[in-house]
């Protein structure tokens, strides 16, 4: 899709930090495009531009359909997945299933019905699951095993599978891109991993030290924008070429932490999760076993030196924040 062909873009989940950065980059990259952001949450727009508008609404309600009827969107960027870190993961499973699955289904249906040219869906690398037998460089065609051990990840896995099924089924009518990024970190991002890295005195496994991948929020937003015009239909892992061990990452952020054996972390998480800690149980596996992504597929469509921040720079930036 040529840059000039893009006249109108819809961003779902506009209140999130990543969406705001993406909105800003889109304004720059597509000077003729109108951008509309929607979210059920209130969004304080830090980019003030007449071409960027925001509407607060739930995308499972009928007024969401009105939005498609009254506007002609060329591209839809779906960043509206509810993450597990916002609340107790078990208590809100029903809500997550409703929004992540029903909501995504509705977005896909509306996009097809109203002849959207391209839809980009942000999934997560958590769908692969962290297992001791994961090869290093998990490819896009690997099995999505996350929900085998942790049923609370069912919504994420099913959302991803629904999007990929849709992608193959309607590939001749609509371009669909499913992105599975590694841990996104940055000053605007408040996901579980950023919280884990930046919180003081969190327990860190003393007996395991998996390799992790991080991508800076700006690089992730750049990838989303780049996908509109330069990346064809498909599923893509998003990660830089680098990786860092968990303990080195904690040291790079320079916050004090407590060395604890994993079995104690598991028990502590079970005990205090219900009251004042929102660290999802499944994330403990990501602190034990590796889930390092292969970025070879997306790299085919990226120019050289596309990513601006190295892992250490990205970690340094959340430290400053």
């Amino acid at each position: 899709m040529e840059n000039s062909q893009v006249k109108s873009i819809l961003i779902i989940g506009m209140a999130g930090g990543l969406a705001k950065i993406t909105g800003g980059l889109l304004l720059k990259e597509y000077p003729n495009a109108q951008i509309l952001g929607v979210d059920s949450r209130y969004a304080d727009m830090f980019v003030k531009d007449s071409r960027l508008k925001f509407q607060r609404m739930r995308y499972t309600r009928s007024n969401f359909e009105k939005l498609f009827r009254n506007n002609v969107f060329d591209v839809v960027i779906h960043l509206g997945r509810i993450s597990h870190s916002n609340a107790n993961p078990r208590a809100h499973l029903a809500q997550r299933l409703d929004l992540n699955l029903m909501g995504t289904g509705r977005i896909l249906e509306l996009s097809l019905h109203f002849n959207i040219k391209k839809i980009i869906i942000l999934s997560t690398f958590h769908v692969y699951g962290a297992f001791p037998d994961n090869p290093i460089f998990v490819k896009e065609d690997s099995l999505l095993r996350a929900s085998i051990k942790y049923p609370e990840l069912r919504d994420v896995v099913e959302m991803d599978q629904m999007a990929t099924n849709w992608m193959w089924k309607y590939q001749h009518q609509m371009e669909t891109i499913v992105l599975r990024p590694c841990n996104i970190i940055g000053p605007q991002i408040r996901n579980s991993m950023t919280q884990f890295l930046t919180t003081k005195y969190v327990p860190v496994p003393i007996d395991y030290n998996p390799m992790l991948q991080f991508i800076h929020e700006f690089d992730m937003a750049k990838s989303l924008v780049h996908c509109i015009s330069h990346v064809p239909t498909g599923i893509y892992n998003v990660a830089t070429n680098e990786s860092i061990s968990l303990r080195e990452a904690k040291k790079a952020v320079a916050v004090p932490f407590i060395n604890v054996p994993v079995f104690l972390i598991e028990q502590t998480a079970k005990l205090i999760n219900k009251t004042f800690w929102s660290f999802p149980n499944y994330l403990i596996d990501y602190l034990k076993y590796p889930c390092v992504l292969s970025n070879s597929e997306l790299n085919k469509y990226l120019p050289p030196h596309f990513f601006k921040y190295s892992i250490r720079e990205a970690l340094e930036l959340i430290k400053i924040d």
Binding site: P135, F137, D207, P210, I244
Partner: protein
């Protein structure tokens, strides 16, 4: 001086038994001199001799040289498979006395190794895979151009607390085709034991008998165009001279192997302490990978080459046992094994 010692002894004696404070008469200067003499005596006659007896670790200068060479290859100090140069350096520093003075590791034929990646194929011995660690150590410490060989390990290794991350930090990698492929493509050398658990978990009666090789490693070499470096590890079988592999019990417990020795499991963790058998790592001639064979060639064609490699390693083992350094633990082996050794020795 003797007088002052006598005075001191006397004073101590009276201090203890008769509470007479005769030591008051000893001049402070004399006591200071005495302490100086005692310190010199302890340092020269006791401490230096004890330290000379204790195994020496590698010098920091030598270790820095090795790791500054390796840092050129791993500028970030880590790699995606969990290698950590910092931890590897520490491990080498502290395991060096074990490596050089306990197992007295020798590398024979290192001049055959060229500066290119290899699929290093070895026999597997020693019950708890110490051989892998010794080969890894040898390729770091004993080669003119040190390299970290990536030992392919079983899936359960990564799940073991502490040991899993220690192994990965020292270069071990989950034995998986994708890992193998990516590592070889990155110019890493890989260490494989095609005998698998069958090789390492042998009862005494099967010591130094090579088990059947699997062929996956050869197909991977064909796919990546990597030459094979056959090696043999001699001496690791004598770490535990008497072993019975309780195979059916291991199956029931879901364990890959369950070696029973006179001391294990009776003495608990102490029972797994290996005997100080000297280890020789013998490097064979590199086996160039055939250019005209496809990685998907029928088993029959692949087996031909695998058998050749197996025979090469068998010969390396036989030659290595002939030139083996004397070790009292070898005498503990059953007569059949010793006589096998004797025949090969031509005695």
């Amino acid at each position: 001086m003797i007088n002052s010692i006598l005075i001191l002894v006397k004073s101590e004696f009276f201090d203890i038994f008769s509470f007479r404070l005769e030591y008051k008469r000893v001049k402070l200067v004399e006591i200071t001199k005495l302490y100086e003499l005692m310190e010199k005596f302890i340092k020269d006659q006791v401490l230096d001799k004890v330290l000379a007896f204790l195994p020496k670790t590698i010098s920091d200068k030598k270790l820095d040289e090795i790791y500054s060479f390796l840092e050129k290859k791993y500028p970030l100090g880590e790699d995606p498979w969990g290698l950590s140069l910092k931890k590897s350096k520490l491990a080498m520093k502290y395991s060096y006395p074990l490596f050089k003075h306990y197992f007295k590791v020798r590398v024979i034929g290192k001049e055959k190794i060229e500066n290119k990646p290899y699929m290093i194929v070895s026999n597997h011995t020693g019950q708890i895979a110490i051989d892998g660690m010794l080969v890894t150590g040898a390729f770091i410490l004993d080669l003119p151009e040190p390299r970290i060989v990536r030992a392919m390990v079983e899936r359960f290794v990564g799940t073991i607390p502490f040991f899993g991350s220690f192994a990965m930090a020292n270069g071990a990698v989950l034995g998986d085709r994708a890992n193998c492929y990516h590592l070889l493509k990155r110019g890493e050398s890989i260490l494989v034991f095609p005998e698998g658990v069958q090789g390492v978990a042998k009862s005494t009666s099967d010591y130094y008998k090579l088990q059947n090789f699997t062929s996956g490693f050869f197909r991977m070499c064909l796919k990546t165009g990597t030459d094979i470096l056959p090696i043999a590890v001699i001496g690791a079988e004598e770490f535990y001279p008497f072993v019975y592999q309780a195979k059916s019990l291991a199956r029931k417990l879901g364990l890959p192997a369950l070696p029973l020795t006179p001391f294990f499991p009776l003495l608990g963790p102490l029972g797994i302490m290996p005997l100080p058998s000297p280890v020789d790592i013998i490097i064979g001639d590199p086996y160039p990978i055939p250019k005209d064979l496809s990685p998907d060639a029928p088993d029959k064609l692949i087996a031909e080459h695998v058998n050749k490699i197996e025979n090469t390693i068998r010969k390396l083992i036989a030659d290595g046992r002939k030139n083996r350094r004397k070790f009292w633990g070898s005498l503990l082996l059953p007569e059949k094994i010793i006589s096998g050794e004797s025949k090969k020795n031509g005695k």
